[in-house]
Every structure is written in structure tokens, then in C-alpha cells.
Symmetry: C2
Subunit: 272 residues, 2 copies
């Protein structure tokens, strides 16, 4: 890992798809101007998180949304984790997060693996009624870090991060759209504990709350150190949240508390 | 799982071993009187956490400490997670947590698996210079819950809780002695995130800080719900921390956010 500037784009996703794409584009350009090497968009940045809209506004990989984002990413000479949008592939739909390189090339895609089928106090949703799950977390080697990508609900599943650990991930990008209810209860808790237990930087990008939509996202996009500190928190603002990630900090944490080296894989293999 | 009252004993462990055993005994009796069915002592409840003392004061399973605790546990008709003490077995030493049943019988023992070899800002320690690690986390079926036991640094290792998950654990008891430094940074974070990601009750028992000893424990023994809420926190007090654990709450959390059922073991097996 090398030191680099990361930028998380947060705004309240609105019904007008064009307006969201304009916001995303402007923030990618701003990130490039500020010298960020990696920009992360939230889950469902195109349309408010709602299954009917996600079905209606689904696009293919070569559709207008990704084409536009690839172009601006190349112009800004930046790397982009393109949050997530509803991807149509033949008859199936996926909640897909594309990673774009500085020439506009697609470096990889994470299709959300764990689908959000819940009956919370404030919300019931069956993501699996629309989406087909992905089969493997995405790990990409960038020039400045090894990056792991997972989407929202995937954050709750330890196996995803065990996979990242084995792959040597140093920074995890989490496009998400936690709800107000689960956000208050678990957003910082889970981002911080993943950072601590796997000794990685964690960047979670969430839309700002839009109280005019049925599903109100939590906001609070955050950048977390490997010691579990909240380096930046966007609260409910529309903002490009930037932080310099220092390779030295990651190395220091792994040295002073070498929990990764203390794994007992020899024993774990016997535990089944 | 059935509803039951849990009691965590917290006091500042002092140099006088007899005084600590008197405190432990009095708190077990108090727990019994209050109707608690399970009492949990902290890590290294006999002597302050310091390798020279742990070597010097090590005892065998049939030594005076466990003999005394078995007697009082039987008299109080309670279950006991006997924190941890330095156990001598032949030539080897272990950081051992015995679980005692209401007839004074030994139901199992968890020998700390992950040894604390660290160089923190405020503290350097090499637990492996004294202790031999255990090889398997302990899971015990009690009449009112399936209990998992792990000790302190084990809390940082996801594999321990994956083991608990596969074994159907509902309540995890964590005798610990987090330091002030790691306690402030990570104690509640890790207890709460384990509770949330495995949807279990978590009870972490730590000695109260004793600023007259070189190693100052964090205190803050805590009882956490499966939703990650801190039900009780002992702060720095000398106290028996009690809470009723409701089976219904565990069932409700697992129903409204069925993350355990959403595990994709079929995929994980392919990830290696």
C-alpha cells in the first residue's frame, strides 16, 4: 500500500435519474481536482433504493450510466468504485458495483452476494425477489492498494472479510444504503469492527437521507482507520468526503497488535 | 434458550490472592441470592494480570482455588464461568476458564487459544512466553442456553465465533482483562459487533481498574443484546452486574434480520 487520497461522494439520491448522474459526475470531477486517486459512490446512486425503480431503471454494462461514468473517470484520471446500480444481464438483474480504472476501463465488478430480505420494525424488503446474487467478493489490485469491494448487506457477513483477509486486502470499499433504523444501530459499529478485526481501512459510502422517498438512507458515509477510528463522517450532508490514507498507519497497527499473524489456521482447519 | 438472569462480577483485582477469592466467593453467593442462574468472573481474577504472578500463582485443576469455587457454586446452586486463572498441567501452563455446574461439577474448560503477544503504545506483553494455547473453543449446553466461552484476546478472532455459530451458541461469555488502551479503543466495539454479527447475547467480564498495579484493566464489564445494545455496563465500579436475558429478544432479532439463515455456505466452501 502507498499513501493516497480517497473521496466518498454523498448526496440525497432523488427520483430524477439525470440529476443523480449529474451529481455523481460533478463529484468525480471534484475528486480528481482535489488529487484523490480513488472515488467511491454509494449503493443505488442512480435512483432511490426501491425495488420497482431498480427494476424499471436497470441497465446493461454498456448502458448510458456506466458509459458516462467511464468517460468522466478517464477524463479525471482517477479510479472509481461506481457505487451500485441495477444491472441487467439477459433475464437476470444484479445489484452491481463496477470498479473503473483511470483509462475508463472496467477493472472488475462485485455483484452483491447477500440479498437484503428483512422484516424490520420500519421496513420490509425482499431484494431476492428482483436480484440474482453474485458468487464471489471482488478484490482488485490498484497501483496504490489492494482493494476489496462489497455492497451494503454483505458487510454483515464475516466470510466476505475472511475472503478479503486471505486475498491480502488493505482497503475495503463498501457502497451501501443502510436504512435509518439499521444505520443508527449498526453502521459505524460494523464498519469499525471490520476495520479492527481485519486491520484494514474501511470506506463506507451511503446516500444522504432523502425524506421525500419511502426508503430513507442513513447517510454518514465514513472513512475508518485500521485501529477503528472514524477519520471522517459525512453526517447527513451533501459532500465529497476526503481523507488521506497512510500506509504507515496500517503497518503500525499490524505491528503493534499482530492479530493477523496470530490466526491459528492450523487449528481452524480442524474445527470444520 | 430460556429467559434467565446473568450476573457478572467486577472488582479491582489486588495483589492479595485471598482477598480476591473472598470477593469472588461473596459475589457468587450474592448472584445466587438474587436468583441468577449464571455467574461470570473476569480473566485473571486471582492475581493481577502480570506474567510473573501468573507463573508463581499457577494451580492445578484440583488446587485450592477451583476447589473453593466449586464448593461455593454448589452451595449457591448456580452455574459459574470461573473467569480465568493460570492452570498448571504437568510442565505446561494455560490461561484457563472452567465452567462449573450447580453440583460443583466441572462442565468444561476453555483454555485461551490466542495468546496476547503485543507491543502497544502503553504496554508490551508476551503471553506465549508462559502459556500453552488451547486448541478448541468451549461450547456447553446449560439447561437455559447454549453457552460459548472464550477468553479476552480470543474475542478478536472471527474463527472463534464462526465456531460458536456452527455449534448453535446463544450466549457468549468472555472473561477478559482488556487494558485501558485497548479497552477504550475496542472493548465495547468488539463485544457489540460479535453480538450483532452472530445474533447472540454477549457477556464480557473484566476486572475493575486497579491503578496500583502495572497492568491497569479497563473494567466496563458489559452485557450486550443480539441487536448490539449495551444492556448493562459496570463502568469502573466494584459491582455484581445483573441482567435478565430474554429468549424472545434473540428470536425476534433472528427473525427480523435473518442474517444467519442468509449465510451462503455453498459459496463460502468454494472461496477456499
Amino acid at each position: 500500500m502507498k499513501d493516497f487520497l480517497i473521496a466518498l461522494a454523498q448526496w440525497p439520491v432523488v427520483l430524477d435519474k439525470k440529476e443523480n448522474l449529474d451529481r455523481a459526475e460533478a463529484m468525480i470531477i471534484e475528486a480528481g481536482r482535489k488529487g484523490a486517486q480513488l472515488c467511491v459512490l454509494p449503493e443505488s446512486f442512480q435512483v432511490p433504493y426501491e425495488l420497482s425503480l431498480l427494476r424499471e431503471q436497470a441497465e446493461t454494462e454498456d448502458g448510458p450510466t456506466l458509459t458516462r461514468l467511464r468517460k468522466v473517470t478517464a477524463e479525471s484520471r482517477i479510479h472509481l468504485v461506481a457505487g451500485s446500480f441495477s444491472e441487467r444481464r439477459g433475464a437476470s438483474f444484479h445489484n452491481s458495483s463496477f470498479v473503473i480504472g483511470p483509462y475508463g476501463e472496467v477493472l472488475g465488478v462485485h455483484r452483491k452476494i447477500h440479498l437484503f430480505d428483512v422484516n424490520l420494525d420500519t421496513l420490509a424488503i425482499q431484494e431476492s425477489s428482483l436480484f440474482t446474487p453474485g458468487e464471489r467478493p471482488l478484490v482488485v489490485d490498484l497501483p496504490f492498494c489492494r482493494l476489496g469491494v462489497a455492497v451494503c448487506y454483505d458487510l454483515r457477513f464475516p466470510a466476505v472479510f475472511r475472503f478479503f483477509e486471505k486475498a491480502g486486502v488493505e482497503v475495503a470499499a463498501l457502497p451501501a444504503a443502510f436504512s435509518t433504523e439499521t444505520g443508527k444501530a449498526h453502521w459505524h459499529l460494523l464498519l469499525r469492527s471490520r476495520a479492527v478485526e481485519y486491520q484494514i481501512f474501511v470506506a463506507g459510502a451511503c446516500p444522504a437521507p432523502n425524506r421525500a422517498t419511502p426508503y430513507v438512507a442513513y447517510g454518514h458515509s465514513s472513512i475508518i482507520t485500521p485501529w477503528g477510528e472514524v477519520l471522517r463522517d459525512a453526517a447527513e450532508e451533501s459532500t465529497l468526503l476526503c481523507a488521506e490514507l497512510h500506509a504507515r498507519l496500517l503497518a503500525d497497527v499490524r505491528k503493534k497488535l499482530p492479530a493477523l499473524r496470530h490466526r491459528r489456521e492450523d487449528l481452524y482447519a480442524k474445527w470444520g
